[in-house]
């Protein structure tokens, strides 16, 4: 499928509905969707590579903690990631190679601060072979 994500409105915060042909694709599209809430992805080059590995309770926790790991990278290492090669094993393990670049306030016009991805009403469903997840972010 072509559609990677949609942005959904929420009174206080903001959400995205992410789609994927498998869990790894869903994780990648959710991460890209989150990046679009923060910055115009076209302004981010792929010059830096980073690795993220996670092991969580289940697929929902894996999705939330994956997104929060990217927010951590942005906060602490000032890294904006836009491309992802992800392997998900057994719904609880994720290994990702991420490409992007270091935050440069002269070139990256930041739109808003995303505090965290939340677990609020989060389910990963499979509809006709498409994985779908609606994630609410704390803004």
């Amino acid at each position: 499928m072509d559609r990677r994500f949609d942005i959904t409105n929420h009174t206080a915060d903001i959400g995205i509905t992410a789609y994927g042909k498998d869990l790894a694709d869903l994780m990648s599209n959710a991460a890209y969707g989150m990046l679009t809430l923060i910055v115009e992805p076209e302004t981010v080059k792929s010059t830096v590579t980073g690795k993220i590995e996670l092991e969580e309770l289940d697929d929902v926790a894996l999705l939330v903690e994956w997104l929060n790991a990217l927010l951590y990278e942005m906060d602490v290492n000032r890294l904006l990631f836009k491309e992802f090669d992800i392997v998900v094993t057994g719904q609880t393990k994720l290994a990702a190679v991420c490409r992007g670049e270091r935050l440069d306030l002269a070139r990256h016009r930041l739109k808003r601060e995303v505090k965290a991805a939340t677990y609020h009403n989060l389910r990963i469903v499979n509809e006709k072979g498409i994985y779908i997840a609606r994630i609410i972010f704390d803004i």
Partner: protein, 485 residues
Amino acid sequence: MGHWLGELNKIDDYRWEIPQDYKTGMRVAGRIYADEAMLGAIREEQSLEQVANVAFLPGIVGCSMAMPDIHWGYGFPIGGVAATRVRDGVISPGGVGYDINCGVKLLRTDLDEDEVMPRIRELVNHLFHNVPSGLGSEGKIKLNDREMEEVLSSGAGWAVKRGYGTPLDLEFTEEQGCMKVADPGKVSDKAKQRGMPQLGTLGSGNHFLEVQVVREIYDAEAAGAMGITHAGQVLMLIHTGSRGLGHQVCDDYLRVMGEAVRRYGIVLPDRQLACAPVESEEGRDYLSAMACAANYAWANRMCIAHWVRDSFSQVLGRKPGQIGMEQVYDVAHNIAKIEDHVIEGRKQALCVHRKGATRAFLAGQEGIPGRYRHIGQPVLIPGDMGRCSFIAVGTERAMAETFGSTCHGAGRLQSRGAAKRGMRGTDVAAELASRGIHIKTGNRGALAEEASSAYKDVVDVVRAAQGAGIIRKVAMAAPIGVIKG
């Protein structure tokens, strides 16, 4: 998500109940403090479902409550209050939120509007440059590991020790700016790394600095005790929280609680409500880590207040002592605390979660500074940047019904997307300037998301809270200068 169609029974003009049998698994009823006119907007989103969901928490007592500024959050509604028994109840990081101890600090001055207004542009510029704010910004304070531990364990006291404030400021801060259950050993290295460069930063979103002018005084005695004496007096309001450190603490412990929910067999309708018994290892660890984040937030607001004082001195060419810029009070509005309350005639230790709600203790209560002991705890209720803010005090009714809690602000009415669409083509800054409000922001694009039309009118919120008897208004102030991150 759509309109909420659940059952809502009227108790009186300002109290509404979601019956306990609305949803199987609710342990208590839900109670909403609002007037009829506000309910229309409240029903248009899912915040009432969230009130019902919070009623599932083991050990919850009284009701799952929502203040008049209720709006749709994640897990808890914003404006939510829930108290659980320490003995056999739970503590939930979702009942505090990611921005632990987001709160407000109010400073009063000896200055009048006519002295400040001619310099307001310059003052706002100074404040903007002296207080680091905005996306991706880093603070001016460089902490080493040892100092970070001190911030987490001592809170605003650390800031005062470093010269960012006075002992008197501590006296007029909730908890004197330090929750003593804090244990930096329970805070992850990741959280500390996020907090390290951000101490003394405002952040962005709805965080702000406001130069305000007193417009009305409703209770001269209470206002006088706070050093607020007349209309036209200049005040300063600071709204921020625990920055990335708090976000990471919340996220870290949601993971812990996700496992705890399984271990303790707790059934919840929303994973964001994940929790553990207050007296379990997980519960105690979270409370100790949350307290560290709360302390960081109090230190953060204290440092910012120092630069605010500096900015006033620089612009007005007077020493701080000649400006009379003293702290009125500093309150948390995202926090969980262990407090004693009377339930069914018996004093009990409770864990009171306030998620977008403010403590509002009655006169005479322990924990209120001596100067305010006879009037009640000051409650600070900021409105949106185009309207006004209120100063109030806690009441007997709040002690009896809401575990000494009340509203925390205006509460959002529109989503950020809807706010932006509604303001398309409007220069929000120019519109505010035409009404005598000078604003400076690092992110003009996001201003529309914070426009007045995106928020409930704080006047309505405060009227409902006062109507329900859970606050007593003291004064109202309106902004003349705003700094948004």
